[in-house]
């Protein structure tokens, strides 16, 4: 955490560094509202992760129940069922892991090329003003919710959508995109590029503008072309940032963009094989009211995601820390 701390605290005596109890009390009151929020929305749900090992049975609390809340009471009274929930999960696991990890890897590889490319091009533009306009436009999708994207996508690929209008006017048969799996990996990839290229380029652009201008001057005097300058000056300097961001992205490889995967397919059941990531699966399970232990099964998925995600973040952070301590999370 100290990595983000550019202003080093002044070394001072013990008295000054700790302050009186009054000061500590003031600081404690300052953190209190935040602590309440963290407790309510982050820490309170944590123990619920044990649902993964329970056969959830709803039980209305009686007079002698410790918890008067239905969920808490059921959580406590439901019997343990070992790894049964995970065995249930197992039959869908290959698909879920393929989708979640596969899409994430695809987004990472394509994303980094386009984001670095955009940053470099914007940085090289002769006219700063137009460069800024381009960047503002490229950044815009970051502010557009996935639900609005879902609408835009519908307008483009619906049966009477824009693409099919073009196709029919050229004499082709219209395509039912919402019923055909093979298009969806591409649709997700394009949607991801559309939404995140501008945003992702920001960090690279910020890094680029911090590079020493003299290196480029020297390069150009020695006759290096712009491409050579990019290849031998820009890229090597940018590499640490690129590598570290990618390693950190690996740490989140089991977390899908729920809003995107859930909303874009527009509830189409036939696409399930290529659109269900772990998050979507967990939500679908959760909502399966007719399934007796749906909370348990969904909980197993959530547990897998949380724990594997946690371990991955720790591991990747360790790697980052060894090579680039400034960029480590903690």
């Amino acid at each position: 955490m100290s990595a983000v701390n550019p202003a080093k605290p002044k070394p001072s005596g013990k008295h000054a560094s700790q302050g009186g109890w009054k000061r500590q009390a003031a600081y404690l009151t300052m953190v209190l509202p935040g602590v309440i929020f963290l407790l309510m929305f982050a820490y309170l749900p944590m123990p619920g992760i044990v649902l993964a090992f329970k056969s959830y049975q709803m039980k209305v609390p009686g007079a002698d129940s410790f918890f008067k809340n239905v969920f808490l009471n059921s959580l406590v009274t439901s019997p343990w069922n070992g790894l049964n929930n995970f065995t249930y999960l197992l039959k869908d696991a290959p698909m879920l892991i393929r989708n979640t990890v596969g899409y994430n890897l695809l987004f990472m590889v394509v994303g980094v090329i386009l984001q670095v490319g955009l940053a470099v091009i914007i940085n090289e533009m002769r006219n700063r003003k137009t460069a800024k306009v381009y960047h503002t436009i490229a950044f815009m999708p970051y502010f557009v919710s996935w639900i609005v994207v879902m609408y835009a996508l519908y307008a483009m690929i619906a049966f009477n959508g824009f693409f099919n209008q073009i196709a029919t006017s050229l004499g082709h048969e219209p395509i039912k995109y919402y019923g055909q799996k093979q298009y969806w990996p591409w649709i997700f990839l394009l949607a991801n590029i559309w939404k995140y290229t501008g945003q992702g380029s920001i960090i690279y652009l910020a890094t680029l503008t911090g590079f020493d201008e003299q290196l480029y001057e020297a390069g150009s005097i020695d006759g290096a072309s712009k491409w050579q300058q990019f290849r031998y000056i820009t890229l090597p300097q940018l590499m640490p940032t690129i590598v570290m961001l990618q390693i950190l992205a690996v740490g989140r490889i089991f977390n899908g963009d729920f809003d995107m995967f859930y909303s874009l397919p527009n509830g189409s059941g036939t696409l399930r094989q290529v659109t269900t990531t772990i998050d979507v699966y967990v939500y679908d399970m959760l909502k399966k009211g007719n399934l007796r232990n749906s909370f348990g099964y969904a909980g197993a998925g959530a547990f897998f995601q949380s724990i594997v995600g946690f371990v991955l973040i720790l591991v990747t952070n360790m790697i980052v820390k060894r090579h680039q301590p400034d960029m480590a999370l903690f």
């Binding site: 983000v4 560094s17 302050g19 500590q24 300052m30 953190v31 509202p33 935040g34 602590v35 929020f37 309510m40 929305f41 982050a42 749900p45 619920g48 649902l51 969920f71 808490l72 090289e124 533009m125 137009t130 381009y134 503002t136 490229a138 950044f139 815009m140 970051y142 502010f143 557009v144 919710s145 639900i147 994207v149 879902m150 609408y151 835009a152 483009m156 009477n160 959508g161 824009f162 209008q165 559309w194 501008g198 960090i203 150009s220 712009k226 570290m244 961001l245 729920f258 809003d259 909303s263 967990v282 959760l286 909370f295 909980g299 998925g301 959530a302 995601q305 995600g309 946690f310 999370l329």
Partner: protein, 318 residues
């Protein structure tokens, strides 16, 4: 004489500037490359704008033209009837707008206050429990209880089900913003100012409110804007926690409408005697998307620098 001098001076200045520009130009990309990059970026920007363009155009097309000719680049028959339906009394979109506005304003204020306070304490080198509370907030970025537990805790244990609270309370505080804000305090509020205020007898709260706050306004703006956009664009919390259309936000309302024409028609019948058969369903939906995204598209260029700042600080740490 003087006039001439002035002219001469101006000319010299211009020449100097030109020379300077020229020397800088040495290491610029070639003009041909520049044209190529411009074309590339213009195409890219068109692709970025295109999806939103289609939504806007279809929202101002007449329903019959849309049904007959489908989605086009340009409206074959112009009509704003979708928008007049949108703003009728009792329209579902008005309820959703009201909920979203309340949530966005409350959420933003709450975020700025809670994050501003929490991060300030963490930025103080003399806070004895700094390490603990840093970890306390940071840990939530690494580990979560998962969606199932969150779903039940927020709905039933915290009792947020079917309330406007559900639309902003869960998103009011984020460890990620704490990091941004703490970095901001540490880099822009000089330690000496705080020390001197303390020597002058100012308490911690007074120092924070009177001395630090005015300096930290750009930081508050960054956190506030991230929070506002998060609440405005929130879909997941509403999906998980609220079941009743009365408490839906914009995103979830338009999500429901897309997936479920019945939802639209049921709610349309409440819209003061609208004949359901006449409701311009497709254009109406597109108009909903336009009013959902409109305010944000209008506003973000003015606040862009705050987002850029926040993302640069948080890109790695987020």
């Amino acid at each position: 004489m003087t006039v001439l001098d002035k002219k001469e001076a101006k000319r010299l200045l211009k020449a100097e500037k030109k020379a300077e520009k020229h020397s800088q130009a040495r290491n610029l990309i070639s003009r041909r490359m520049n044209v190529f990059f411009n074309i590339l970026l213009i195409v890219f920007c068109i692709l970025i704008i295109f999806p939103l363009w289609i939504i806007i155009i279809s929202s101002v097309t007449s329903e019959s033209a849309l049904t007959t000719y489908g989605y086009r680049l340009w409206p074959l028959e112009f009509s704003v009837s979708a928008y007049t339906y949108l703003f009728r009394d009792g329209s579902i979109i008005l309820t959703a707008y009201k909920n979203t506005l309340i949530a966005t304003v409350s959420g933003t204020v709450l975020s700025v206050i809670t994050v501003g306070l929490y991060a300030y304490a963490l930025s103080r080198p003399d806070f004895r429990f700094k390490k603990f509370f840093t970890f306390f907030s940071f840990f939530t970025m690494l580990f979560s209880g998962g969606m199932v537990s969150y779903y039940n805790m927020t709905r039933s244990v915290l009792g947020l089900k079917d309330t406007v609270w559900a639309l902003f309370l869960p998103m009011a505080f984020s460890a990620y913003w704490v990091i941004i804000m703490r970095t901001f305090y540490q880099s822009t509020v000089p330690e000496a100012i705080i020390e001197s205020a303390r020597i002058d007898g100012s308490g911690e709260w007074r120092t924070l409110i009177q001395i630090v706050c005015p300096l930290a306004i750009p930081g508050f703006a960054t956190v506030g804007l991230f929070s506002a956009i998060g609440v405005w664009n929130d879909f997941r919390n509403c999906l998980l926690i609220n079941d009743s259309a009365k408490y839906f936000n914009l995103q979830y309302t338009i999500y429901q409408t897309m997936n479920n024409l019945r939802f639209l028609k049921e709610n349309a019948s409440r819209m003061g005697g609208v004949n359901v058969a006449n409701l311009p369903a497709e254009t109406f939906r597109m108009a909903m998307a336009v009013v959902t995204v409109g305010p944000i598209i209008m506003a973000y260029p003015f606040f862009q620098k705050y987002f850029v700042k926040g993302l640069t600080v948080g890109a790695v740490k987020g």
